[in-house]
């Protein structure tokens, strides 16, 4: 039977810990070990945890250090972990009884399990919090769809589990990423080793997030900083982060406008706080679309301010970016796969392995249904992924697909 360690990093949140810890006492699967890692805590975190340790049905200890870094704190917890699986949950997560059991139901050792951090709204939730909940739930809904192809950006460190060996083999989180995105960076290294992600919809932790618009904007700033760091660490990612092609969710900002964040170095903070005031008043009178417009720009400005804080000028940034992007080249000899004619299992695995690396064309009766570009930092392709992509064909592609479906059903099979 697997042994489990739960690592809870915390910083100055003695008030929240009792809820987190007492939620763990009701788990359907026992026993396990819990390590609370207190990072630079000057409140009574340690006493609170020790008081709990006496009457909980699991081994509970607390480790302290002063690193002021979430990455280092999680690494320290993993170092002390005795279990063969380590589950990381944040101190604002209230676990439902099935959490540990669901994390453990993975079949393969080379799989990282992502939990479901279900957003729990505070009282009188702000507009931003309502929208953030929709964003998170959409994210998890996407994960639940069979055939979702996970990428490194799907790993969030608040509720996930991994084999302790694998964690140590990869060297844990990169402590150089002290502010943001250490989870993405770790996720990227995981995908590089061919690790698959799995979403455990029953590993529910209620996420009592207190983040609001101003705090989120500060994080966006740090995300800009961290994305540059990520590009420097893994140059092959630059294309997807800063290239105009396939920008993976990062706010894009083009042409002359991009000079703005670089030019406003000193005044940025006051511009942002003025924008926040406008957004606040627009929320008061419920002009939602105007408010969204303001936040749209605040987000872009702050992200690029973050990028600008690393470089002296736009020219320096552009030079660096172009140099990085040129280095990553995409192969021309993309293999193709005939979807109508089933392949032998072994051949299929081989084509999928090459396809994950170089990209893949899916043909049906000799006609191209879709072209899958090589995706850096994504899971290796599976048949389920392709089936899903066929289902999601856009409107201009679906009519031929429908015709194919008829052929396929006449032949006794279904396309997707």
């Amino acid at each position: 039977m697997d042994t489990v360690t739960i690592v809870i990093p915390t910083h100055q949140r003695a008030g929240l810990l009792p809820r987190t810890l007492s939620a763990l006492t009701c788990q359907s699967r026992l026993p396990f070990e819990v390590i609370v890692v207190a990072d630079a805590c000057t409140d009574n975190t340690v006493q609170v945890v020790r008081a709990f340790a006496a009457h909980v049905p699991f081994r509970l200890h607390v480790v302290e250090h002063e690193a002021r870094s979430a990455a280092a704190t999680r690494n320290l917890g993993a170092q002390h972990a005795a279990g063969s699986t380590v589950i990381f949950i944040d101190d604002d997560i209230e676990a439902l009884p099935s959490l540990v059991q669901a994390h453990l139901s993975s079949t393969s050792a080379e799989t990282v399990t992502l939990g479901y951090s279900k957003p729990a709204l505070p009282e009188n939730a702000s507009q931003w919090q309502l929208e953030a909940r929709i964003w998170w739930e959409d994210q998890y809904r996407e994960f639940r769809i069979p055939g979702h192809r996970f990428t490194y950006r799907d790993l969030s460190s608040g509720n996930f589990s991994i084999q302790t060996n694998l964690f140590h083999r990869l060297g844990g989180f990169d402590v150089a990423f002290s502010g943001r995105l250490e989870d993405y960076e770790f996720g990227y290294r995981l995908t590089q080793t061919g690790t698959r992600f799995r979403f455990a919809a029953d590993a529910i932790g209620l996420h009592h997030d207190t983040t609001d618009l101003p705090k989120w904007l500060r994080r966006i700033f740090l995300e800009g900083v961290a994305d540059v760091q990520m590009g420097k660490r893994h140059p092959e990612l630059c294309r997807s982060i800063f290239g105009s092609i396939g920008s993976s969710g990062m706010p894009s900002c083009h042409g002359r406008l991009l000079q703005l964040p670089f030019a406003m170095k000193g005044k940025g903070e006051s511009i942002i706080s003025a924008g926040l005031k406008v957004a606040y008043w627009l929320e008061r009178i419920k002009l939602r679309r105007r408010r969204r417009g303001v936040i749209f720009w605040l987000r872009r400005i702050n992200y690029w301010r973050g990028v600008a804080s690393v470089f002296r000028s736009l020219e320096e940034f552009a030079g660096w970016r172009d140099e990085q992007i040129d280095r990553s080249v995409i192969a021309f000899d993309v293999p193709s796969l005939e979807w109508g004619a089933p392949l032998a299992e072994f051949d299929m695995q081989r084509v999928l392995a090459i396809g994950s690396e170089k990209g893949l064309r899916i043909l049906f009766d000799g006609t191209e249904l879709l072209a899958i570009p090589p995706q850096i930092g994504a899971e290796p392709l599976t048949e389920a992924h392709i089936r899903r992509m066929i289902k999601e064909l856009s409107a201009d592609q679906f009519v031929p697909a429908l015709a194919f479906q008829r052929i396929a059903s006449a032949a006794g099979g279904r396309l997707c």
Partner: protein
Amino acid sequence: MTNYTSNLAHSPAQSAFGVTIARGPATIKDWVLFSSRERSPHMINEEGTLPDPPPLPVLEIDLSDPDVFRREAKIEGPSPMVLIIIRFRGAVVGQFEAPVEGGRIGWHAVQSVLGKLALAIWKQDAIRAAPVPQLSASVVVCTRDRRSDLERCLPTLEPFARAGHEILVVDNCPTTDETARLVAKYSGVRYVLEPRPGEGIARNRGLKEARGDIVAFTDDDAKADPNWLDSLLRNFEDPMVALVTGITLSNELKSKAQIWFERSYGFQRGFLRREFDLTNFEPLAAGVLGATVNVAIRKSVLPDTGLFDEALGPGTECQSGADHEFFYRVLSRGYRAVYDPAALVWHRHRREWTALQRALYGYGVGVFAWWTRALVYEGEFGVLRIAPWYFFHHHVRNLLRSLFKRPGCYPLDLAYAEFSGALAGPREYFRARRRLSSERSRIPRRMPVPPAQDAAAAQRSGLQ
């Protein structure tokens, strides 16, 4: 016959009898496209009068039936057109009008639109594959002295009772006990008497009495399709979804009023599933979602959103608007709403022209009444923008078009009824509120309020 758009992906909703197709994110402008000129019928002749049309026959065909085009379809009656409702594996995927030639349908006309149905077929087929979640439902029908309608409605609901769901009939301030006696004949149907008149009051009673996780509403003059309830429930798999509306079609198009209503106003909102939430939709345009004739609500969100406003809706001064106001509150509290055309209800539209006039007046009142409520009691300043915009682009414009007899315009009496209703909306809302508050001070509260505090806490913690 309406002309069909050629570009599938980018055309706006073209409807009543065109095939409604893909739509992008909704804006306020989209909403108007749904309800005004894009769906204007070519019913008014050159003199600007509305001729009395012969009854429009309705024909349902299922494309998944392999012999569908080989079968003879004989159309009786003098109508030169027939309304064809197209299904695919049971779900409706489109409807349009085709000419009748010598008592037969020209199948080539049907085949020419098949390509336009492909998107709806493709998308709906993918959705149908999803399993129905294990949720209990209560179906609530509010009625008042309409025995003959209810007699047609209840048998269509019986299968849901056999499947283990609850059926409730809320009898709203009846003058006879006919409804009670009718309901007693059905074993799986529960009868609830609500003595205070007003549809909002009756619906709220239904919400309080219902024991299911999901409360589905339909009207006494409607008939549910066999897949109706399952199709609604399927959408609640997503924990964010608090409200699901379905498609409402008519299979009785006998009188002028019914044909006009289905052609130019109608309850259907297209044949593609759509999702609405704060991030892609303006809640003040909640009219896009549909109406209470075909809607399901997740009961656990009620402490957060509140119940229907009893000052709105049929039976009050405002005559309508309760549903859209409720939809607005669901959306503005951050939940998601879904319009799913797989959930089908057949509605019998009003037969008499005068009833249609009253209904349009009521729609005019309702929309401005609930916007008044949103502005005054919810602090929605967006109303100041959307209300004048809609008034000029819908009500005033329709009235002017009718006055100048532009092609495809509303009959003048209907345009005027809606216009005058809109003007009366805010006044009628305040009148209704005043009446209600004076009544409340006289009558003690009958029903205990649901334990809002505990339920609100449960909701916040995300437990369904």
